[in-house]
Amino acid sequence: MEARKNFFATSVGIVGVGVVIGVLAALLQKWGNPGNMGICVACFERDVAGSLGLHRAEVVQYLRPEILGFVLGALVAALAFREFKPRSGSAPLARFLLGMCAMIGALVFLGCPWRAVLRLAGGDGNALFGLAGLAAGVGIGTVFFRSGYSLGRTSKQNYGLGLLMPLVIVGLLILGLIYPQIPNEAKSGILFYSLKGPGSQHAPLIISMVVGLVVGVVAQRSRFCTMGALRDLILFRHWHLFSGFVALLAAAWVTNLALGQFHPGFANQPVAHTQSFWNFAGMLVAGLAFALAGGCPGRQLFMSGEGDGDAAVFVLGMIVGAAFAHNFGLASSPAGIGPHGIAAVAVALITCLFIGFSNIKRVGA
């Protein structure tokens, strides 16, 4: 049969999706999310890890509904457009470790690629170093791809296996409904809730959930990917995804200006530090890990919703990585990098390079 046309995958579609995400992210900050953190996939997965008690950093514990919405929105879109295709089996352990490395790098910078753009849109100049690191990391990733890097082919799986990650997300949603936040209580049932810090700052649950679902749907349809934007530009000189990336930046910047949320400068930016080299290096590691795993953290969530078990393994790696980062002093804080942040960046970089070099020329194998 003839294939269907997907409006969201057109040039206008991807720009439109970037605008929608940029505006919604800036609005989420207005509605309660932390500064320059309307949407941050890495930070929000870290908060989810905290809410489950996988780490005990009291300022970053909240079951972020946006994360749940991303996966479930993508699931709904994939089911509606017959793109729900259960698949997995492509180097799961490597993907898990890449997820850990990506999260560790992102938490040295204090943000994923989405937040790097949102930080810049809010006037945080430190984000420039993060974005440069991201581009460098993705650039190194493209060298691996040109050299024949591949984690190997996936294989089709049954419907139930494809539903596993969405069901895990539904389980988390149910936990959140059974144990809702109680004012001034740090715990509700088995879930932890921050009383201060970024984890205590959030938009109302229903708004976060609806925005998460909307972003999940449009991002699944458009294949929006911040890593892919840079990768395709560097590798093929293709501007398609990059135009969505720039649209997100522009839309968030304009919305921030309109809402009085644009504060240019380097010092005293929200949830950020000024150690430029480590902002660069953290995101270099994250960018390389995202490139080697084939998607930015948002895209990995959306693919999980499409039934991609390998993307789900990467997401779980990120969540475990967040727990490691906060349990063992790897993550940065506004005061600067963590006590073991430098060692973490080095080990994560070596891990990514090992995975890169050891998986060259596996295509067709």
Binding site: M1, E2, A3, N6, A9, E83, K85, R87, S90, T142, F145, R146, S150, R153, T154, S155, K156, R223, G228, R231, D232, L235, F236, H238, H240, G294, V363
Partner: protein, 72 residues
């Protein structure tokens, strides 16, 4: 007989890299690219058009996409 690139089970950028490499090698003619997901189908189509190859045919069979690319 048309040349074939089998990129089933692979995700981007690999299907695009494989297709582009084959197009570069062939320069003209007919190339069949097999992929098994919408994203690869869209990306390979976009890359082929950019390289001046015509998408002569695109059909879906059993969850797989067969793209016939042509350049004379």
């Amino acid at each position: 007989m048309a040349e074939t690139v089998d990129a089933r089970g692979l995700s981007c950028p690999q299907p695009v890299l494989m297709a582009l490499s084959k197009m570069k090698e062939m320069k003209t003619g007919e190339l069949e690219v097999l992929v098994d997901n919408e994203v690869s189908k869209e990306n390979v189509s976009r890359a082929a058009s950019k390289e001046g190859w015509e998408i002569a045919q695109m059909r879906e069979e059993a969850d797989e996409f067969h793209l016939i690319l042509r350049r004379s």
